[in-house]
């Protein structure tokens, strides 16, 4: 039984971010890969949509210039023949401030011939923003209850 495409991709992304070694990742990206991390792109320029291998390698390089991954814990996972989704909790360090960041993300990935063709990432962005600025964002209580 061969390893699911998610695992080499996961290792390659970690290596590209933490060691600035994108070669493994490059080999696992479809030329036309469709990539999106949903979040405020005016605050985090490496969020948003990217199309194609070069654009994805560039955005992963940007992520690696901003954070270091210390740990990831999987909270849920589903594996299909050519697809995968999981919910993960990441412990990161913001490199400019040296501040720790704890972040929960969900991703949906699709593969073709072992290469990533589509990735969608959702995260708890309000929590991320508060951790990054380092103070709680005070707003009126919004809900009616």
């Amino acid at each position: 039984m061969t390893e699911h495409s998610l695992w080499p991709l996961s290792r390659a992304v970690h290596r590209a971010i933490n060691e600035r070694q994108p070669e493994d990742l490059e080999a696992l990206l479809d030329e036309e890969v469709d990539w999106a991390i949903y979040g405020p792109i005016d605050l985090y320029p490496f969020f948003g949509a990217r199309r194609g291998k070069d654009a994805v390698l560039d955005v992963v390089r940007q992520i690696g210039e901003n954070v270091r991954i210390h740990r990831s814990d999987r909270e849920a996972i589903m594996l299909g023949v050519d697809s995968a989704s999981s919910m993960l909790r990441y412990s990161l360090t913001a490199l400019d401030s040296n501040k720790p960041i704890s972040l929960r993300i969900a991703h949906f990935a699709q593969f073709r011939a072992g290469r990533l063709t589509s990735l969608r990432v959702l995260l708890d962005t309000f929590d991320l923003v508060e951790q990054t600025v380092g103070y709680p964002i005070h707003l009126p209580r919004i809900a009616a209850v």
Copy 2:
């Protein structure tokens, strides 16, 4: 082939929220259901963790007092024997302000004997907060790039 447990659950949640009719949902919840919507609970009291059928019915009632669902579009889905995950885009109305809200969410669900035992929901909370308060939250550009 029987219908996957996700579909009756999805219809029952919509009905409980939009029509304030929780009976269908009640029949599809495990007594010990483990439920979490990750997000700022001081802003949205119906976010956070709940345990057990009564607590979940109560929180779904609260959600129904705050929003109405107009439409949901599925962007990704994975179905397992007793599990499901999907990424959805919702069009809602905030009932107090009558404002439209567009929201992307990811969920991971687990079932036992057709009943929901676990649900984890992640959403783009910063985007939600900006839409709810009705103005952009100005913050310094955070990332180094």
